[in-house]
């Protein structure tokens, strides 16, 4: 009896809510049927990869409120089960290889790095995408990402193997920010440096004054294979060298820029600015580096990280150092007076981020229904209401609306609607790479760190425009995209990775007198261990016209003429890192 009553009550409640929702036209829609999607006749299961970042401060990546929400709304209504497959972030290829080897293929493959997707394609893991069918199934996703022409740009090996997800404002890398201790200059009574020598002198002065309690002042991290030398390269870029060397998965040790950068770090190391054990200071699971700890304790000069409304490191920093003042190092990726000192280049240049977010491919073993379900999943997530929900969660719990009606994240929330890493980023990255709200100013305002004694919003917006100006001048550009798989990269990148870390560490730590000889020796060994093959193959592919080229503007213009805004900026903020 009781049961019947409760059922009736439930039905009535649902009905009344439904009618209420119907009346309220602005109420969000999460049901895929509302978007004209049709349920599958037979049950379909799709497996979607999700990064497992080995963190303790996020819910279980494959089973939490939002994964359930996906299945409740998208899955149930379409007769689809969405399984989330954890992928170890620090060993993506290893994790995918394990899935491939165990026959437990995900329906979707996604990666940021072109060489990785290129290898999947070469191995036959990826299906050829029927672009027209995809666009017909997922028009909203397509519109977000661009159009068919945009897709065409990312064809490889003679077919459309992956689709590029949207990365807004990709050309500026504005979300990574380096902060420095502004108050130390005031305390020491010295001006901001304008040359590398002044910069080094300032750092040494700070150490002498005991600001770091005897600790090394620069928080140097352990090396990994992602070693960018754009800023240290000559200008105008030699396009062949750029094509040979620029690859996130293999460090370009023989490049001239690598020589300059390592030599600079060797000098800084020999001056005692780095920890003597910096190479041991890698980020283990759930623990930060000593470098970050030192900064939080007020004993290091800089701190760099991606922006977020909730930046626990900065919060902790101000708790320990309530009187400290931080500044933003403008255009940190592009301007470094050091390189001028070496005569390597005379312009600020740097690496933009990828022009796309995730490269999304589909398993060559997926059935038609599975493919369709995966496409529908992407289309569903791309719907504004759905995307808003998964990016922001529940109002009053995980976010609040600010005066402009834009969502602001509630920091440190770990309740029932606890969100995954970076506001569920690893779920919605299949649609878009960065969470944006309104204009770029509003977006930056929303991700500027909140709840701190200092407000960085304006400085961060300035930083964006500075970078934007450089980008417009063709100074920020990316690695070449090859339309063929560079087999030697697949073959040797793994070996070279460990070698590079070993060599680079030794080079930074060696006696400055021995640096040049050691560098020559390591370059030789590095080439023999496979890098020569990579250089040759990449160069050949480039010469055969199988790669993208540098933006015209960059290759055609030398010497560099800064546009007005960058001139202003360079005279105003010149501080190296």
């Amino acid at each position: 009896m009781k049961k019947i009553v409760s059922v009736i009550l439930a039905v009535m409640m649902t009905l009344s809510l439904a009618s209420f929702a119907g009346a309220e036209s602005a109420s969000p829609k999460y049901n895929p049927l509302d978007y004209g999607m049709e349920p599958f006749a037979a049950p379909v299961t799709i497996k979607i990869p999700v990064f497992d970042r080995a963190r303790d401060d996020v819910p279980d990546v494959s089973s939490n409120y939002y994964t359930n929400w996906v299945n409740e709304n998208f899955g149930k209504n379409l007769n689809v089960t969405v399984e989330f497959v954890p992928i170890t972030r620090t060993d993506t290829m290893g994790a995918y290889n394990l899935l491939l080897a165990s026959g437990d293929w995900p329906t979707v493959f996604m990666e940021y790095d072109w060489p990785k997707v290129s290898q999947w394609a070469a191995d036959g893991a990826l299906a050829d995408i029927d672009v027209d069918a995809f666009i017909a199934t997922a028009p909203t996703w397509t519109e977000k990402a661009g159009d068919k022409a945009q897709f065409d740009m990312f064809q490889m090996q003679g077919a459309q193997k992956v689709l590029p997800a949207l990365r807004p404002y990709w050309d500026t890398n504005y979300t990574y920010i380096t902060f420095y201790r502004k108050d130390w200059y005031e305390q020491a009574g010295i001006e901001l440096p304008t040359t590398y020598e002044e910069y080094l002198a300032a750092l040494q002065k700070f150490m002498e004054l005991g600001f770091t309690n005897g600790k090394p002042i620069l928080p140097k991290k352990a090396f990994n294979e992602n070693f960018q030398v754009y800023a240290e390269s000559e200008w105008p870029r030699n396009e062949e060298e750029w094509a040979m060397y620029s690859d996130v998965s293999v460090a370009p040790l023989p490049a001239r820029g690598a020589y300059y950068l390592l030599k600079k770090q060797n000098l800084e190391y020999s001056l005692g600015l780095y920890s003597k054990e910096f190479e041991l200071d890698s980020e283990g699971d759930g623990s930060a580096t000593q470098a970050i700890t030192d900064f939080i304790n007020g004993e290091a000069y800089t701190y760099g990280n991606y922006l977020g409304a909730d930046m626990p490191d900065l919060t902790a920093f101000y708790q320990n150092n309530p009187d400290a003042k931080l500044g933003v190092i403008y255009n940190n990726t592009v301007y470094d007076p050091w390189v001028d000192a070496w005569g390597a280049r005379t312009v600020p240049q740097g690496r933009a981020t990828n022009p796309a977010g995730m490269f999304v491919g589909f398993s060559s073993k997926a059935s038609d229904d599975e493919l369709k379900a995966a496409w529908l999943y992407m289309e569903w997530l791309a719907q504004p209401d759905v995307l808003f929900y998964i990016q922001n969660g529940v109002e009053g719990e995980t976010y609040n609306l600010n005066a402009d009606g834009l969502p602001e994240v509630v920091g440190g929330y770990q309740g029932d609607y606890w969100m995954g890493y970076g506001n569920n980023k690893d779920y919605w990255c299949i649609v878009v790479e960065v969470r944006t709200v309104g204009t770029i100013e509003q977006t930056i305002a929303s991700i500027a760190p909140k709840g701190l004694p200092q407000d960085f919003t304006q400085e961060l917006i300035d930083n964006y425009y500075i970078l934007k100006a450089y980008a417009n001048d063709g100074l920020l550009y990316v690695d070449p995209f090859f339309s063929v798989n560079i087999d030697s990269v697949s073959e040797y990148a793994g070996d070279l990775k460990a070698k590079f870390v070993e060599y680079a560490t030794a080079l930074v730590k060696c006696d400055p007198e021995e640096f040049d000889a050691l560098y020559e020796q390591y370059v030789q060994e590095y080439k023999e261990a496979g890098y020569q093959a990579i250089m040759d193959e990449r160069l050949e592919a480039y010469k055969n016209g199988l790669s993208t080229v540098l933006p015209d503007i960059a290759s055609g213009r030398a010497p560099y003429e800064p546009s007005d805004i960058t001139k202003v900026v360079e005279t105003k903020y010149t501080i190296g890192q």
């Binding site: 290893g94 054990e277 190479e279 041991l280």
Partner: protein, 323 residues
Amino acid sequence: MIAQRSLGRPLKRSFGTGSVPGRAIAAAAKYWQLYAMLVLPLAFVILFNYCVYPNLRIAFMNYRPAKGWASDWVGMGTFAKVFKDKDFFRAFRNTLVFNIADIILQFPAPIILALMINELRAKAFKRVSQTILYLPHFLSSVIVASVAYTLFRPETGLVNVALTNAGFIAKGIPFLTEKWHWVITYLTINIWQQIGWGSIIYLAAMMGIDPTLYEAATVDGAGRFKRLRHVTLPGIRPTIVMLLIMRMGQLLGSGFERLNAFGNVNVREFQYQLSIYVYEKGLGPAGDFSRSAAVGLFQTLVGLVMVLLSDRAAKLLGEDGLV
């Protein structure tokens, strides 16, 4: 192999007559319970050992995970690649040198400790010290390595801090972060970890020595060292030879967990051994299953040859041997 001697030759005790199949049927009928007990263990052995052997064919293929067993056959191509691979030679050299160093340095340590413990008279002291000395054997390599880093980091490690504070050194000694220091530290910690445990077997052998030999030696006026040389050492000689043979059989062995836990970027020149090679080339970033499998096969074959050679050598020396 080991089993041969103790088997005796009892097989025919119950079955003196009858044809071979007849005997088999009779045995099955009589001992079916015993055979039934063997089903599960044999299933384990067959599944987890014998079923693996066919997969060795991967060493003759160019295996790609996405293609699976449909990958291309390359014959000896993989081995050709391995023997041209500088990393392989580095790993091979390190494995060999470390094992030889280990045999020279670590092998005698437990014998010396056992001799010392054997000389101890205070029973309580002996018992407590043994308990403590056996302990490191039971700690995982991760724990030992973690503690070692806590002690030996150049700037923050206890030992270096203490030495610096005391004014003995101006800057930290890179015990674990410079390759030559690392070799010594690594081998020393290995000795430290195994010395107590390794001594047990020698102590047991010493207990087996006939006490009257000592009495006779004492009566003959032999001092402590003479007794040690003429009674104790000869008494444990078979144990030493036996363990040495077994150790020689692992000349190309290299434990992954320990090396991996102790590794860091500064010491790869020496830390890079075959087990690391097999892991990194196979399951690590290189993802080259075939090359890794080829080296694994090489390692096993060399190990097998070494066991047989050591066994033969032992027999030539008049010892029992393994087989």
